[in-house]
Amino acid sequence: MAIGRIGIYALLLAFAAVYLMPLYVMVMTSLKDIEEIRQGNLLSLPESPTFYAWVKAWGSACTGSECEGLAPFFFNSIRIVVPAVLISTLIGALNGYVLAKWKFRGSELLFGALLFGCFIPFQVILLPMARLLATLGLANTVTGLVLVHVIYGIAFTTLFFRNFYVSVPNELVKAAQLDGANFFQIFRHIFLPISVPIFTVTIIWQFTQIWNDFLFGVVYSGPGTQPITVALNNLVNTSVGGKEYNVDMAAALIAALPTLVVYVLAGKYFVRGLTAGAVKG
């Protein structure tokens, strides 16, 4: 048995090492100077660690004719991500509530259609969506971009909440109805209080998806509202004159930092949230 447990630990740690490798390579590279990267070993520790690359990536690397680093774009991203995550999560919660507990003729079909519909490759919708946004007067605005993220995020947020709420006993809803509670009262007093875990899961999921989005961000943003992924892409895709891999890596890490922080801080709740809703389909 003891040998078995040692085996389990060894296996888990080996996997952990593999999972960490890309991150390790990135962090090490971001701390080296360019000379060391050129001749150096991928996995070696930096000889004299420097934060030069991080400072430059944040504040002075060129992302176009302006060279102000990633900082301004960081806040653009926040302006897009926060409303998009909140709205899509709220809609998902209500949708999930209906689909789990207030089924009507065709509601299952609707859910299936929603799940299937989001299999449409996003590249396909770029042009018709651009036309639609223009019709709504939202072309190249933050509002338009938020709308797009909400629309294509709903399928998954609905899936999460529906699966979670299905596990709530029907008797509970029926009892509340007998007590005269209406649709929203039941949602507020019975469902919301138990929803913290699934809100956590959904918010983490949506935050990750939208923060990391490049395609919608590049197409539907305007000058001055581009999200950080677009800036990162501009920064990394240098074609001429000395590629600074350390700055690229530092920039990549800066762009990934918020999602990493969220996973590290809220990862515990993530699994807990999934636990609460996972086993019931």
């Binding site: 050129r38 990394v236 074609s239």
Partner: protein
């Protein structure tokens, strides 16, 4: 019918959009985000702001403008195109046909662009006989970059024909060096392929088969010969090349790991950044068999229709500034290319650029001046894409020359 409806859409939408834009402003979509390029764009911006034109920067990098073009198309569809966008080659004609481009002919007339620009360049900038775009530079693509140190050690000489290339490359390989530094990405494969086409077939064949898409020329013995030579090159490239960026390949020549690279003149910037001097530390010569020829790649800004008259003025100010000798000098010194306008002072440019300028003028007279198909100057995006696919697949497999020719003919026909 379509043109009209799109144009109507654009007109209708721009009426709605117009009040949002400020007076005298250019919004410029480009993909120049790296070091020297970004500096050059910033210089243009500064000059315009000095004239009271504000600059809204809309940079989208990646894959030679692939992402930028996606953005441009969705902006166009939503009736809200930028003032100017970095577009080049036959694509300018396609945008013109769809009714999106604005004429800047009056600027061109006042500033005598017809006499400043060589005919091959100005033809590309015009749609329906009127200027709709302004060129910023001329790149020569058919360059061979060599490290003389490596050649000396291997006892080889710099090749001037493809037959000679194979002899010399064998010597280099035997001496333990990589003969040809190469990055295995589709566009780089196509760049080498293009050099072989020009060197083996000559400019006349190149023009017929790869610019006019004459099927007889394309389906000829010469094409098979081209594929044979191109296939021979596989052995001179190291096994780790797939996916490598071009500048990494250049640095292999710089640090003496490899002997040669075939790449456009933007490669020069890498040598200069590494502190190397042309003529002594590195050599720039025309790629084998092409000393009397010049494959050109011209970057340009195309101008989109604007409804606001202040913006139209700003647009024209920008056009004028782009062809000004100040901007042409600064930009091309930064980028390694040569100015698009003729007759500029040469002293600040290096010897490679001088060679390029001379070849540009002389090849124009002998008919050796041809558009680069690997860089979107010769044929439509669809056809050049088809050529890319065949070239890159051929170079990365052991397809026979006859089969390569067959695939090329089929792919080009299907894309036309």
């Amino acid at each position: 019918m379509l043109k009209k409806s799109i144009a109507a859409c654009v007109a209708a939408a721009s009426v709605v959009i117009a009040p949002m834009t400020q007076a005298s402003e250019v919004e410029v979509l480009h993909w120049w985000t790296s070091g020297g390029e970004a500096k050059s764009v910033a210089y243009l911006k500064e000059r315009l702001e000095g004239k009271g034109v504000s600059w809204k920067d809309f940079a989208v990098a990646g894959g030679g403008g692939e992402n930028a073009m996606t953005v441009l198309k969705s902006r166009a569809v939503s009736g809200n195109p930028p003032t100017a966008a970095q577009i080049k080659g036959p694509s300018i004609q396609e945008w013109g046909e769809l009714g999106f481009l604005a004429s800047i002919d009056d600027v061109a007339k006042t500033n005598k662009w017809d006499s400043l620009l060589p005919g091959v360049v100005s033809d590309v900038m015009k749609y329906d006989g009127k200027y709709v775009a302004a060129p910023v530079n001329v790149h020569r693509v058919n360059w061979l970059w060599a490290n003389p140190e490596v050649f000396k050690k291997a006892g080889a000489s710099i090749p001037t024909t493809w037959a000679d290339f194979i002899v010399q490359a064998k010597k280099i390989k035997d001496a333990g060096y990589i003969a040809l530094a190469h990055g295995g990405q589709a566009w780089q494969d196509a760049t080498v392929f293009e050099a072989v086409v020009l060197g083996v077939g000559g400019p006349e064949y190149y023009q017929k088969a790869f610019v006019e898409l004459d099927m007889k020329a394309l389906d000829s013995k010469t094409t098979e010969e081209v594929f044979k030579v191109f296939g021979e090159l596989r052995q001179f490239v190291d096994a780790n090349s797939p996916g490598r960026d071009w500048n990494v390949a250049t640095s292999m020549v710089i640090n003496g790991e490899a002997a040669m690279q075939i790449m456009g003149d933007w490669a020069k910037g890498e040598f200069v950044v590494a502190g190397k001097k042309p003529g002594t530390d590195f050599v720039c010569v025309a790629s084998p068999g092409t000393s009397n020829a010049f494959t050109f790649n011209v970057d340009s800004f195309a101008f989109f229709k604007q409804s606001d008259s202040e913006n139209q003025k700003a647009q024209k100010a920008m056009a004028q500034e782009i062809l000004g000798s100040d901007f042409q000098k600064v930009f091309n010194l930064n980028k390694g290319s040569i100015p698009a306008r003729l007759g500029m002072a040469r002293d600040e440019f290096d010897t490679c650029a001088h060679d390029s300028m001379n070849a540009f003028v002389s090849s124009a007279q002998t008919g050796g001046l041809v558009p680069s198909f690997a860089h979107g100057m010769a044929v439509s995006e669809a056809v050049s894409g088809a050529i890319y696919d065949v070239a890159t697949n051929y170079f990365n497999s052991d397809t026979s020359a006859a089969e390569g020719k067959k695939q090329l003919v089929a792919a080009v026909q299907s894309a036309m």
